[in-house]
């Protein structure tokens, strides 16, 4: 089996983010590392974050830093990754990509203990960069300019220290003196030797300054001093005239200012009043704001509170350090303060946000200061505060993030054309159920009812130079309605259009006249109001029209074509007639090219399954240039001109070209290239769009030509970052559409469907999925579908949080104490229920989504079981588990006695603790029955078990449970579950159970899959096959009788299969291989499964699912990851495709090595050698290569670049 791997949704979580002027000039951009991808973001003028560029690097990005050479206007990006190399990137505006300026190898690849890449620090003057590892190694590279002003990089200078752990590094701002780097270090050599523990207790963290002597080209340890043992983060303090220089050392509970030859200035970090005493306060992210006259720091704690830190200084002496409560936002992995007054907050989990500064924390708030620091016998006296609503920040935009995807199911619950992906995302109070649909999101601007059922709609401008449309014209079966667009849209009768007849086409003609084509003629309305009518000869009627601004072609019944042009006087003149062999099905003329008199091509579709290209040039007017036969009569044609592009912000190099698009009656969109000179057709592609014949309309998207295709669902064809994308819109079936531009809506679409007129715009181009979000209460763990009522049952649990009642009580107390609100916010209960949506932030000053749940002791758990109706998004039943119980597994089960019908089994643990040792008070399996038509749950009974039941599954009318290392079969009793059979021989902990016929596929937490059988006659469960490789399973899925798909903790996806002969033997053996099992050797099963597929995703896969995302398409394996990405693995069906793609992949590896220096093959084989998987993400980078390289690769494959692109498109279309 060969698989094609493709990422459908790139990772949405953020590892780290930096800001700077990467494009060059005044604007500021943000570079975001999302694990395997590097994105360049920019907030636009409206405060919306736009993605300028996104590239997959096939490696793990661990750290980013930006620097600028003195006097330069542009920042460079330094990337620390798992490649064992330091990479310096520069963004190229012209090509819209990152260029690798330097790549220097210093060590082995992989995330290792002593290979640098984990930390990066740059000299604030951009003269040197330090790259460090968790332990021992630190390397300094000197950055400079050569005579041609190009960036140069030196060979590395070592600043190693053995037996030393590094916590953080930072550049120290010391103006133009020698660059200095600071590091928090901990020496463990003595602690490793001393068995009394004294050395370990005395182990002391040090702050060390390393000086790079630019004259001697040497790095030396300049200064080292003990610091607080809770230190974890360093922040550079501006120096060299702008400030006192030195560093801020962030430690647990403290922020300390330190510099060489300067006494410590220490202040406590204020604590939340409700924080348990044993918990510290740790700073997890920091941002610096610098202006000419002042600077301050924003430090965020692990609970989400941001503090503003300011330093009072006289020259180089710091007199006071102040920490003031600023605001509270969800915990971030990185924060960036932009010059334009924005704060970009990259959340650890859940959506990222862009905030605007309203104030800079000058108001009245809790403040801790070094001057008021009080030391008592128990240590320093804490300062307390309570979080409040946002005062200094206001959220203006957000970027959706699925991180982490906890569970996923692909189902078509809404009976739509394509299935929906239900994902459980997020953590704690920011958890949600997200329903993903492939396609672009549409925002509806207006819907208005019309007096009848319209069949067509157009928009028209009054003058070619107008920015906005003047009229919307709607055609009914026997009338035409004209609406004028202004402040409001209203019906008018003075437009000159004939309203007593249906219309076939309405458009602007010439510079300023309007044309209405109706079955009996053409009405030409001049700018001054004069009307010219052209009438059809005899009893013929017009059936089809094609027109652009200067040319009109009509088709009369019987197949006669008449061609008109606009004369110089502004008159519409008949030029030529042509008799077609039969009735015309559809026509189209390409728009007039810039600076030309006419367009050369007319496309005519006939009912004899052909499309002809006719010339409109005066010399060979109405000559047939080419003929294309198609599989079904064409319904609609569109000639789409793609302008020449030479890179820039939206695309790769490609010459101008004309595409002929045809919607066929069998629902296929047929697309072919028209030669600009000869009119010959070549390079055809077709794609099935839906059950109705697609109707094609031209539209504008981001100022470029695009195409709307209306089949049983609407699609948009547009060019995005060099690719032509054809994407469905998440909107209902439309009849007819036209582009729409007005004051309120620059690029919209007006469409008719049923008896309504709809105006909408298309959002967030380039996205694969759009999502509907339903908030949840705690971290979702798993969910199942209730088969009859199609409700979802979700289990959610969180460690270290208070129960809903306790939280409610604390909140009331707080509100009473603060005396907030005149009427006391009586609806708090509802707000906690279901989160009550994110829109209520203003009303509820302390929404849990923003502030997080108050922390409780680590051994306390909260958990709930929720029944949710996915159609309405309503929770119909929510059971909070009592008494420190937390739910971990769920399944539906039909016991064979059928007394209750479908029951729900939930596995829970009471008082579970992971640290210092995994302990629990008890485990339980709850059995619930569905009441109230499946909307609600009622407890039948609960059964105590000895471990955590992490896996439950129905099996032959009984319940299989994995409890620690025990696989047990239960039957339903009156008071409790009854043990029927068990097997205690599993190596570690059972985390998944799948069943098929009489086989049971058990996944172990550390030891991969075990294939088991149940013998009913002997009532015995036994393992007949297992895996030879230890795999730390995080997800598993049953593929077929012999095959399982699994994913491990290290980011690998793999398939194992029982060899055919072994499988047959076991099925044929009357004892079912039991005799052999009894002879099992070396504590293992007698048979071993074989690994047939292996692939390193580079991200922890949390769920696997086999599904088809397109109607009638083949199934593929979909996965969701902790970083919030979704991917698919599609099985190849032909050997030729495998050969083609493996060669393409090989050439791509050679010609286009990954950006951050990791070898592609080594990355995909990081833990186990990649086996039989083609990396589609690498292959899909083919269109981004320069054209000559594309041709070179294509030549080696004996194809044209066009054919390769077609193949790539074809495979993507097979998946989504």
């Amino acid at each position: 089996m060969y698989l094609y791997s493709l990422t459908l949704q790139r990772a949405t979580g953020v590892v780290c983010a930096i800001n700077g002027s990467f494009v060059g000039g005044k604007t500021q951009e943000i570079v975001v590392a999302r694990g395997k991808t590097l994105d360049l973001l920019r907030p636009d003028d409206a405060g919306k974050i736009q993605t300028l560029h996104s590239v997959e690097v096939f490696g793990a990005i661990r750290s980013l830093a930006q620097f600028r050479l003195t006097g330069s206007q542009k920042d460079y990006v330094v990337v620390g990754s798992d490649s064992g190399r330091i990479v310096i990137l520069e963004y190229s505006k012209e090509k819209n990509c990152f260029d690798k300026v330097h790549q220097e190898t210093f060590g082995k690849s992989g995330c290792r203990r002593i290979v640098p890449g984990q930390y990066l620090a740059v000299d604030p003057k951009g003269r040197a960069v330090m790259i460090a590892a968790c332990e021992k190694q630190k390397l300094v590279y000197v950055l400079n300019r050569d005579t041609a002003a190009r960036l140069t990089i030196s060979s590395p200078l070592e600043a190693h220290k053995s037996h030393t752990i590094t916590y953080s590094i930072a550049g120290v701002d010391c103006g133009f003196d020698n660059p200095v780097f600071a590091a928090i270090e901990l020496d463990y050599s003595e602690a490793d030797q001393d068995s009394t523990g004294q050395a370990a207790a005395e182990a002391q963290k040090h702050l060390t300054f390393y000086e790079l002597d630019l004259g001697l080209n040497h790095v030396s340890r300049k200064w080292t001093e003990p610091i607080d043992n809770g230190a974890n983060l360093l922040v550079t303090v501006p120096g060299g005239g702008d400030g006192p220089s030195g560093v801020l050392v962030c430690a647990e509970n403290f922020v300390i200012y330190k510099n060489q030859g300067h006494p410590d200035v220490r202040a406590v970090i204020p604590r939340r009043a409700d924080l348990p005493a044993e918990r510290g306060v740790l700073i997890v992210s920091a941002a610096t704001h610098r202006q000419k006259s002042m600077f301050f720091f924003l430090l965020q704690t692990e609970y989400g509170d941001i503090f503003k830190v300011t330093l009072d200084h006289e020259g180089d002496r710091v007199t006071e350090l102040k920490i003031k409560y600023f605001d509270t936002i969800p915990v971030t992995s990185s924060m960036c303060v932009l010059k334009a007054g924005f704060l970009f907050a990259a959340s650890e989990f859940g959506n990222h946000a862009l905030y605007q500064f309203q104030a800079i924390g000058d108001g009245d708030d809790v403040e801790a200061s070094s001057a008021t620091l009080m030391e008592t016998d128990e240590g320093f006296q804490p300062v307390f505060f309570s979080p409040r609503g946002l005062k200094n920040l206001i959220r203006i935009d957000h970027i959706e993030s699925l991180m982490p995807v906890m569970d996923m199911k692909v189902m078509n619950l809404f009976e739509e054309e394509t299935p929906q992906i239900f994902t459980l995302c997020g953590r704690g109070p920011r958890s949600s159920l997200r329903i993903l649909r492939p396609g672009l999101a549409v925002s509806e601007m207006a819907v208005s009812q019309l007096p009848g059922v319209p069949h067509a709609v157009w928009t028209v401008k009054k003058n070619v130079n107008d920015e906005f449309d003047a009229y919307i014209v709607v055609s009914f079966a026997n009338a035409t309605l004209v609406l004028s667009i202004g402040e409001t849209v209203e019906e008018v009768s003075d437009s000159g259009f004939l309203d007593t007849t249906p219309s076939l086409a309405v458009s602007l003609l010439g510079d300023d006249s309007l044309m209405q084509v109706h079955p009996n003629g053409i009405r030409h309305i001049r700018e001054d109001g004069r009307v010219n009518e052209w009438k059809t000869p005899g009893k013929k009627t017009i059936v089809k029209v094609g027109s652009n601004r200067l040319q009109v072609v009509i088709a009369l019944s019987g197949g006669e074509l008449i061609y008109f042009e606009i004369h110089m006087t502004g008159q519409l003149m008949e030029v030529e007639k042509h008799e077609m062999p039969g009735d015309v099905a559809c026509l189209d003329i390409a728009p007039v090219p810039e600076g030309r008199q006419r367009s050369r091509f007319l496309a005519v579709g006939s009912y004899d399954n052909t499309i002809r290209i006719l010339s409109l040039d005066p010399d060979d007017c109405m000559q047939i240039l080419s003929v294309q036969s198609v599989s079904s009569p064409p319904e609609s044609l569109l000639l789409l001109e793609v302008q020449a592009s030479t890179g820039g912000e939206d695309g790769a190099d490609h010459p101008a070209s004309v595409f002929l698009n045809a919607g066929l009656q069998n629902g296929v969109l047929f697309r072919t290239v028209v030669d600009m000179v000869t009119g010959q057709l070549s390079d055809t592609r077709s794609r099935f769009l839906g059950l109705r014949a697609p109707k094609l309309f031209s539209a504008r998207v981001r100022g470029r030509q695009a195409m709307l295709c209306l089949s049983s669902r609407p699609w948009l064809g547009y060019i995005h970052q060099g690719h032509f994308l054809l994407t469905p819109l998440s909107y209902e079936t439309l009849e007819y559409a036209a582009s729409f531009s007005s004051d309120q809506c620059a690029e919209g679409v007006v469409a008719v469907a049923g008896d309504a007129l709809r105006v909408f715009t298309i959002e967030r181009l380039g996205e694969t999925f759009n999502e509907t979000v339903i908030p949840l209460r705690y971290t979702p763990r798993k969910f199942v579908l209730q088969p009859k009522r199609k409700n979802l049952i979700i289990i959610e649990s969180d460690q270290g949080a208070f129960t809903a009642e306790e939280r409610e009580a604390a909140r009331k107390e707080l509100l009473e104490a603060a005396q907030v609100g005149e009427n006391g916010n009586a609806n708090n209960g509802e707000q906690m229920e279901n989160g009550a949506g994110g829109g209520d932030d203003e009303e509820d000053p302390l929404s849990d989504e923003q502030y997080g749940y108050p922390k409780a002791e680590a051994d306390r758990w909260v958990s709930c079981i929720r029944v949710l109706d996915p159609r309405t998004g309503n929770t119909t039943c929510l059971l909070e588990l009592q008494d420190n119980e937390a739910a971990f597994s769920v399944c539906t089960v039909n016991f064979h006695d059928k007394e209750y019908g479908t029951l729900l089994a939930v596995g829970t643990a009471k008082g579970l603790q992971f640290w210092p040792k995994r302990t629990l008070a008890a485990g339980f399996i709850h059995i619930y029955k569905f009441v109230d038509e499946g909307r609600s749950l009622e407890l039948v009974h609960k059964t105590k078990v000895e471990g955590v039941p992490l896996a439950l599954c129905q099996f032959q009318g009984r319940l299989l449970a994995g409890i620690g290392p025990i696989l047990r079969l239960y039957d339903l009793g009156r008071r409790r579950l009854l043990r029927k059979c068990e097997n205690k021989l599993f190596p570690n902990t059972i985390v998944s159970i799948h069943t098929y016929r009489d086989r049971i596929y058990v996944g172990d937490m550390q030891e991969s899959f075990h294939y088991c059988k149940y013998r009913r006659d002997e009532n015995q469960l036994y393992i007949f096959a297992d895996d030879s490789v230890p795999r730390w399973l995080t997800a598993s899925h049953h593929i077929d009788f012999d095959t399982m798909a699994g994913a491990d903790k290290f980011g690998n996806v793999y398939f194992v299969r029982l060899p055919q002969d072994v499988s047959d033997e076991i099925e044929e053996d009357p004892t079912g291989g039991k005799i052999k099992w009894e002879q099992g050797k070396l504590n293992g099963a007698p048979n071993k499964v074989e690994e047939i597929v292996q692939f390193h995703v580079g991200d922890v896969v949390a769920c696997l699912q086999k599904a088809s995302l397109i109607p009638g398409g083949g199934e593929c394996v979909l996965y969701g990851t902790v970083m919030g990405s979704l991917g698919a693995l599609l099985a190849f069906t032909s050997r030729e495709d495998v050969d083609f793609f493996s060669h393409l992949e090989m050439h791509m590896r050679q010609e286009h090595p990954p950006l951050c220096g990791r070898d592609h093959m080594a990355f995909r084989s990081a833990y186990f050698p990649v086996k039989d998987v083609i990396d589609g993400d690498l292959c899909e980078q083919f269109p981004t290569l320069p054209p000559d390289l594309q041709r070179k690769i294509a030549d080696e494959l004996d194809r044209t670049p066009g054919e390769i692109l077609k193949k790539l498109e074809e495979f993507r279309n097979k998946i989504i």
């Binding site: 979580g13 590892v15 694990g35 793990a60 661990r62 995330c111 290792r112 203990r113 002593i114 890449g117 984990q118 590892a133 968790c134 332990e135 021992k136 053995s162 752990i165 916590y167 901990l186 463990y188 602690a191 490793d192 001393d194 068995s195 009394t196 370990a200 974890n232 740790l282 700073i283 997890v284 992210s285 692990e302 609970y303 915990v331 992995s333 650890e348 989990f349 991180m403 982490p404 906890m406 953590r427 704690g428 971290t779 969180d798 460690q799 270290g800 680590a858 992971f914 640290w915 995080t1034 903790k1049 290290f1050 980011g1051 580079g1098 991200d1099 922890v1100 949390a1102 990851t1121 902790v1122 970083m1123």
Partner: protein, 87 residues
């Protein structure tokens, strides 16, 4: 030191042990071995952000806190070393 000594197996091994932390030797005891494995594991958890996030979800801590905890545990990953036998 003679020129040939530079290439004998012992000096090569010493060189490796000095350069690559964790390279084993004949007298390595169980504790030292375990300490190395643990430190390597923690460094790997810290280096692989998705794994760090995975742990953070399990323990319901912030990723920053989880990273700090792992760094702290690198000091004494396996508890106190056993008492040395006098030799």
């Amino acid at each position: 030191m003679q020129a040939s000594d530079r290439f004998n197996i012992n000096s090569q091994l010493e060189h490796l042990q000095a350069k690559y932390v964790g390279t084993g030797h004949a007298d390595l005891n169980r504790f030292e071995w375990a300490v190395n494995i643990q430190r390597d594991s923690y460094a790997s958890y810290i280096g692989h952000y998705p794994m760090l996030a995975y742990f953070a979800i399990a323990e319901n801590e912030s990723i920053g806190r989880e990273r700090y905890n792992f760094m702290q545990r690198m000091l004494l990953p396996c508890g106190l070393p056993p008492e040395r036998e006098e030799d």
